[in-house]
Symmetry: C2
Subunit: 415 residues, 2 copies
Amino acid sequence: MTAAVLCTGTELTRGELFNSNATYLAEALTALGFEVGALDAVDDDDQRIVRALERLGKEHDVLVCTGGLGPTTDDLTSECVARVLGVPLERDETSLEAIRRRVERVGRTLTASNAKQANFPRGASILPNPNGTAPGFSVKLGRAAAFFLPGVPLEMKAMFAASVVPAIQPLVADRSHQTLLRTFGLPESEVNDRLAGLDTAHDVTIGYRARLPEIEVKLLARAPTADAARARAAAAAAEVRARLGLDVVYGEGDTSLPEVVCRLLEAQSLTLALAESCTGGMVAELVTNVPGASRSFLGGVVAYSNAAKTELLGVDPTLIERHGAVSAEVARALAEGARRRFGSDLALAVTGIAGPDGGTPEKPVGLVHWAAASDAGIEAKHAVFSGNREQVRRRSAYAALALLRRVVLRSSVQP
Amino acid sequence: MTAAVLCTGTELTRGELFNSNATYLAEALTALGFEVGALDAVDDDDQRIVRALERLGKEHDVLVCTGGLGPTTDDLTSECVARVLGVPLERDETSLEAIRRRVERVGRTLTASNAKQANFPRGASILPNPNGTAPGFSVKLGRAAAFFLPGVPLEMKAMFAASVVPAIQPLVADRSHQTLLRTFGLPESEVNDRLAGLDTAHDVTIGYRARLPEIEVKLLARAPTADAARARAAAAAAEVRARLGLDVVYGEGDTSLPEVVCRLLEAQSLTLALAESCTGGMVAELVTNVPGASRSFLGGVVAYSNAAKTELLGVDPTLIERHGAVSAEVARALAEGARRRFGSDLALAVTGIAGPDGGTPEKPVGLVHWAAASDAGIEAKHAVFSGNREQVRRRSAYAALALLRRVVLRSSVQP
């Protein structure tokens, strides 16, 4: 079973917008078990749209199209589909009423442009759009079951899940289940090596996605029943955890490392403070991006200048003189200082050289020290991270959060 | 003159990777003056690649392809192009030598897979790749001048600029020049309204791109000479600045708002400190992401808890009791406290309710107060921002930086 995606819009072909819809649909169709053969985008040109529809409808079993359902003259999808099918456009009164209600709810009156959104090729099945004015529709187009959705990602995704998935899932004989494991701390090549042979052993497909500084491992299992597919993915996931270790595989699905850390802190009623130098607030930003972070996170100091390190966090100036601001000693003192200053259970500190300037032969760009302070004492680590300033900072922030996770997990298993 | 982009790779059609190459090439080809009619991606399937090449070569004047030039069996581009042209593959000895040198420089020896990268369709012109092993090539494919580049963005972009642009620029009669203006503070619809008619008045094309929380305005001018195109774009840019105001149009090209602020501070030898509540370190993160930020930025406090606000920044607890932590009074006190604590020339403070919880009828989610303290006193502003937690935080951080920019600009024009 092959599938294709067609996205229309001159804003795409002019490069004004990233085509995130295409990637989303490609991933979702792959996870359902389709072989996605084409991800095409064309501008708002009726002839090019018509030709693309004819071609993709002939070559694929499923076709998902986005865009061109809006109220303006640029929105040509319904008209082009009608032309390919050789049928007229017909008004759907139920859709028109829904559009009218939606428009009037925000205090406007229905215009001819709005009304145009209720016109569909004769014989089309209407797909409701709970989040916007433009309904979608589906038709048989050549060989393909074809679905037409709006280009607004929020609307498109909801309609894909509600209307398209139930219609196309029966087309693939096997049910599929995808498990996404999130890892941090190993390079992609090593993750790859350590998981060698796991795909054949568990009859799953393994996919990788590098989202700096993480490597996501996707396990896609297919089986005659949904339960069997789920069980197969779960068995493969258990082996991935065993092979990579729980320090590396920190979570599953959409849950980010900062979220995992916040949930752990909250579950144990622990409070956190931060002291950041080279990450410059990035760790705090990651933590506070988690809703409810305020239940555990007391605050942090971005101690960029040495004066800030000594005056706000009580780091002994002779320590900085003797070892330099980027050193294990200062990382420890920063963590200790933050813990004391905020009166928190735990504190995390990062100091390093993010570059592009400031490196020396002894302390190159990318050298970063980080430390976590708790009741059990202070644990410090360091590394020389590669990449540009932004990448060094991201790797540092994640490394610090990974250390914090380990410290909290360890404290929780103690008596 | 129409152009098309074809990207090959199963990692794209499976949705494992965002197709940033397509967007980059679409924007660059549009800026050169081409009408981009198709941005297609196909998986690593030789038949689908061949069909796409035949079709796009027939329909367009220029075709730029990326991917499939690597050493593995999945890399099929040269072979597919040779099949479409009906010519054999031939080894290019100069390319083979360059690949051998590159491979040996990193301590490996040339394999048959590497050597395959020196095979090109007979008659092709080789395009050197200074940043990687895989050279590109160009051929005439149907109607199109067709260019084949590697999929690695860094390599692709350098080769596009060095080899493709000089070859295709002569195809468009007019020279073009694009100016990108960066704006913050007005919604897209209002930017749009205020610039109504400017395109016809200056004979330019206006494009918008929303990059939350900014709106970028792209002015594309075409003229018989490069100088005339540049002059036309400059005249249009001057009118955009006049219509939107210099508070809104803060920069041009790649220069971000944090970068503009850092450059202003550095030029006037001013130092900065921060006090953040709802933005949780985001302002600090944005500022310290600018290389050289340490020359102006002393540090900041992420005062998430009320205790942190009073103890680290000296905010009077009765002020918080009386007005609440999210208030103009506390924003002012935070800015003043940060300025005093760090001994900086300027300080910026943000306090607000980012959501999703914590709102009340009087103080809804999205309410944010921010303040800038300087020698000239304290200036405070507030707004109710829309969007989710992440969006409220981003809008708040940018609003605070925009206020800081105005305060610095104002101080610099004073005697």
